[in-house]
Structure formats: C-alpha cells, structure tokens
Symmetry: C2
Subunit: 336 residues, 2 copies
Amino acid sequence: MNAAIDDVARAAGVSTATVSRALRHLPGVSEATRARVLEAARGLGYAPSASASSLASGRTHTIGVLTPWIRRWFHGSVTEGIERALRAEGFDALLYSFERADGAGRNRLDPFVLRRRVDGVLVVGMPLDTDEQEVLDGLGVPVVFIGTGPPGRVTVTIDDDGAARLAMAHLLGLGHRRIALVTATGEDQPDWAPPALRQRGYEAALAEAGVAFDPTLVIPGDYARAGARERMAELLRTRPEVTAVFAISDDMAFGVLQAARDAGRRVPEDLSVIGIDGHDMSDLVNLTTVGQDAAEQGAAAAALMLEMLTGGPVAEEAVYPVELLVRGTTGPPPRS
Amino acid sequence: MNAAIDDVARAAGVSTATVSRALRHLPGVSEATRARVLEAARGLGYAPSASASSLASGRTHTIGVLTPWIRRWFHGSVTEGIERALRAEGFDALLYSFERADGAGRNRLDPFVLRRRVDGVLVVGMPLDTDEQEVLDGLGVPVVFIGTGPPGRVTVTIDDDGAARLAMAHLLGLGHRRIALVTATGEDQPDWAPPALRQRGYEAALAEAGVAFDPTLVIPGDYARAGARERMAELLRTRPEVTAVFAISDDMAFGVLQAARDAGRRVPEDLSVIGIDGHDMSDLVNLTTVGQDAAEQGAAAAALMLEMLTGGPVAEEAVYPVELLVRGTTGPPPRS
DNA sequence: CTGTTAGCGCATTCAG
DNA sequence: CTGAATGCGCTAACAG
C-alpha cells in the first residue's frame, strides 16, 4: 500500500534517479518524462519517505522551534507564524518547549534531542546563556533568534529601545512625571535582552524630559501577571505619588491593572498604565500599549532560516516596527 | 565530528548490533558490555541518526499534532501538554496547524505531508469531517482526538453536557430564567462536537428547572470573541428581558462582557455572564466560568497514544473533570 | 537528458 | 549473550 520510488519508476518506465529528479523539480528532465513520472506517482499515491530522503541527502527539511512556552502570547504567536511560513515552503516544524521548572531554573538544553534531526533552529523569546549557545552551535546548523538574541547573531526583533521611548513619550506627553517601570529581571536576562533595552529607553526618555531617574521606581518581575500584580500592590501602597506605570509587557500590565483595581485606584483617572505587545486580550481590558506583530516576526525568521539554508547571505538584524495603540488606560495625571 | 554507530562499536570492541541493543536497553546484553558501550557512546558524543533509525525500523518516534490554531487558549494549552508528555518519553512533536483561511473554509488536510513521517496523530480541538477522517485513517497510524472527536474513536474530552449543566445550575440557582446561550455553529460543528453537546446540557437544565426553551435566545458564533461581541450587542438591544448569558467558551464570554460594557449594562447587576474553559485571562476580568485543565488533557492524550503504539488496548473515551469557578460576573438577576 | 552504482546509518533477522 | 549480513528508500555522483 505504500508505494516506493521504484514502483513509480517501473510504472513510468524510467529509473529511480529520474523519478527523484522529476518529483523534486530538478532541472535536466524533459517535460514529457516529468509528466509521465508525476502521473505515475499520483496514480500510485506515492509519498516519498522523509527518513530515506534525509538519510541519503543529509537534510531533514525540518526546523526545530525552541521555546520556553507556547501558551504565552508572544511565543504562541511567533510559533504560529513560523509554522505557517515553514509549511508553505514544505518544511516541518519540530517543537521543543523548555519550560522553566519551578525554582530549578530552565530545563537543561539537551544537545542530543536536536542532534541530526533538524536543518536549523529557531529560538523564540529566550535569552540563551553562553553554555546553551555553545550547545546550539555544536549542532552545526544555522540558528535564528526571535525576540531576543545575543549580539552578532541573526535576530528578528523590534526596536526595544524605541518601543519604550514611544510608550514613555505618550505618558510624558500627557503630563506624567512619576512613572514606575515594571520590568523583568534575573540572571537569565542579559543586557542585550528586551528588559535591559526597554529600561534604557525608559531612562533615556526621562532624561530627555528632564525628569530625574529614580531607581526605586523600577519594579522587577518575570514577565508574568501574578508577580507584577503583587509587586505593584506594594508600590501603590508605599509610593502614592506615582501617577503612571509602564510595564514592558502587556501581561505584566494586566497584573498592574489588577493591582490598581484591588487598591481601589481608578484607571486612568488615578493611575495610567501602558504596556508593550498588543496582546490579544489588551483590547478586552482597553489597555493602551505599544503593539508589535509577533506572528509576522516568526514568519520572517522562518524565511531568513530558509535563506540561510540555501546559502544566501542574510542581514544580521531584522527590526520590525511597533505602533502606539492609545486606548483607555492612559490619561492625564490627577491634579494634585 | 558526528560519530556513527560503528565508531561506537569499534571503541567498545563490539559489533554495531550490540551497540544498537545496548543503547536501546533491550534485553540480551550483559551488564558489562552495556556499560562499555554506554561509556564509549558518551565518550564519542554519539547521537543516533533519527533518519537512519526510522528508515531501518519503520518507526519515527514522532507524533503529528494537528491543530487549527496554536494561540487560542485551549489549543495552545493542549499542545503544550502534549509536547511535554511526548518529550518525557523521548518522542518528538511535529506541528501541523491548519488555520481556517478567510471564508474559504479550513485548509485542506493534505494527506501527503503526514505520510510516513509520524507514528501517530493527535487532533486538537478540531471536529474533522468524514473526508478528513478518511485521509487520516489512510495514514495507517493511530489517531487520538482531544476536545472533540467522532463517536467510536479514541478521545479525550470533558463532559460537555455536564459542564453546561453546571453552568446553568449556577445561573438558575441565582434566580435567572431568561438565559441566552452563546454557542458555535456551522457545518463543521457536527452533533458530536462540544457546541451541540453543551447546548443539549443547556436545554436539559432549562427543562429541569421548568423554563421553556426559547430558540431565539440561542446566539450562533464561531468560538471567537469578536463575533460574540457583535451578536451580543444586538441581543442586548432587542431582548432586554435577558438577565444572564451562558457562553460555551470563555473567549466568547469575553466578547459578551465587551458588548455589555458597550451597551452600558453593568455586570453582574444588570447582566450575569458565565463561560467554559478557565482561560488564563478569565480571572483578569473576573469571569465566572466552568474550568477545565486543557494541558492535562493534552498530556493524557499523548500517554494514550504511546500506549496504543505499544499495542496496549486503551479505553475509547477519557473524560476529564470540570470545576465551577464562581467569580464576579454572576449574581442574582435585577429585580424588575 | 537519462540510467547505473554506491552508499547514507541504523535495526533486524539469523547464526553461532 | 553476541556478531555478520541484509536491506529500509532514497539521493548523488558518475557515466553514457
């Protein structure tokens, strides 16, 4: 029932080599024979064996997608964009999720699971440490980073610094001066990752507006809602002079919104809140944010990968645009 | 640099057959030689070639995950659960997303992309039509359905009817009588899929409470927020007597909440809203809902698949529990 | 433009 | 318990 290449060859009256060439649309096959081969293949319901093809050619036509989560907005959107772009080109996406184990840090990146099964690796929103980068490099296949990547590597990102300035310009333009920053920290957030870059934008924007930077207004976090909510609750209690909060992700902005609600602070009358992402749910809660197209970045990364696979040179850094989405969580500061 | 099995055999002073057996922990290898082989393999950094192994054995150690979307809560959560469970057992997850093209129905399920590259297929939240089922069956590998599956197939689901009754009991218990149902319809929603089953629960609960079923209170939808919001806006305008809405998914409940807000209806004072899912964001908007554990269902489906692969008999229907999460969007009906 | 010939790296008989 | 031999199905030289 599973026809093999020589069945097709026999049916078409040619050699297996010709079948192989015809089916892959390689040059050097006459139109007439190609047509006969295609016909025979269709008739037999022939589907080439990926394993045999990989074994013989050394290429798997499969790209590994390395991501710590897939249900977070950014990671899910990027992964979806990747999968579609790859499939359109006949490539498969192999999923490798490396969720952080509780307290124990992220699962070790096992070099063996990826060895010899992918032609390339796409790393989604995951700042790899030096060891992990070495493991990946040891695979000997191209790697593209989405969302965040070490300097000097092929990356697809937004302009993190610019996105932060955009958010801050909006807040400062409304008249806010005491603006808290909710960010993400930890040893796995190096200075080339979004949290650091966005904080840089935050500080630069303050400086340009002539507002002194107050480090006690920088709230650490882990990109997640719950932590932001907790930490924000405390800030709201201890620092009533804060009139606006800039969270570096929408999910953390959601936590800020919850904390404000818990504390009985009206948004935006008492407190303005802005995020970054353009999360699916941001319009549900009417969050003002700086939107990015994560699926498009995934698709772009996939395209870059395919380009690298064919030996084409690619630009090191692809930077995607962001857009200020003014909604209902920002307004002028309360008159004091 | 990429050691092959005969390098290991040479280093350990045994044959490749013994290496193969030792590394796969097959019986019939003495402890001493197994240890020597493991040692040699580690020393050489040997990783078996998946292609060669598949070609020789006919098994790919890869499971295809068929899903229309991965960023929707249910599908993303299930997929994440699947991936983790599979990886723990040394299996790979190959992603096949088949997003509905605009207006043109879902992408055709291409039989060829899956042929000979997976040992089994997991279908996530996707009621396949008869043609598609045939395509899948033509693959000759086991199939497990999560969230919804044709009768007589191996499925992992919740008790859809029971979940609906649970939601309705809550609403009815609060005193509501005019309760709208926001559901999902269309030819791709057969009578064994959640929308039909949940509607059955809705109707049964009404009947038991002695409330006449009013078909004009059933709002069609497509599981998405936007549509629910639009259709709900109209209902709110034309049917002011409705005091509660039961949406069969949290995402649609979010749309209902937006419509209520747009219409100036207070929740829950003027209108109660309940959903099904326990979506990540449901607590953000304080939605009362019937929660399910989607990731666990994914993991369970993966385990079932592995069981089927080893020839074990499996139960046809695994039903997972749900739980009523009473939050802030439900309350007694307004006194009229 | 097409056919012949070797492998790709492993799993699996079958002997011993 | 272990080894030798065979072939999984295809691609990639190399000839013609």
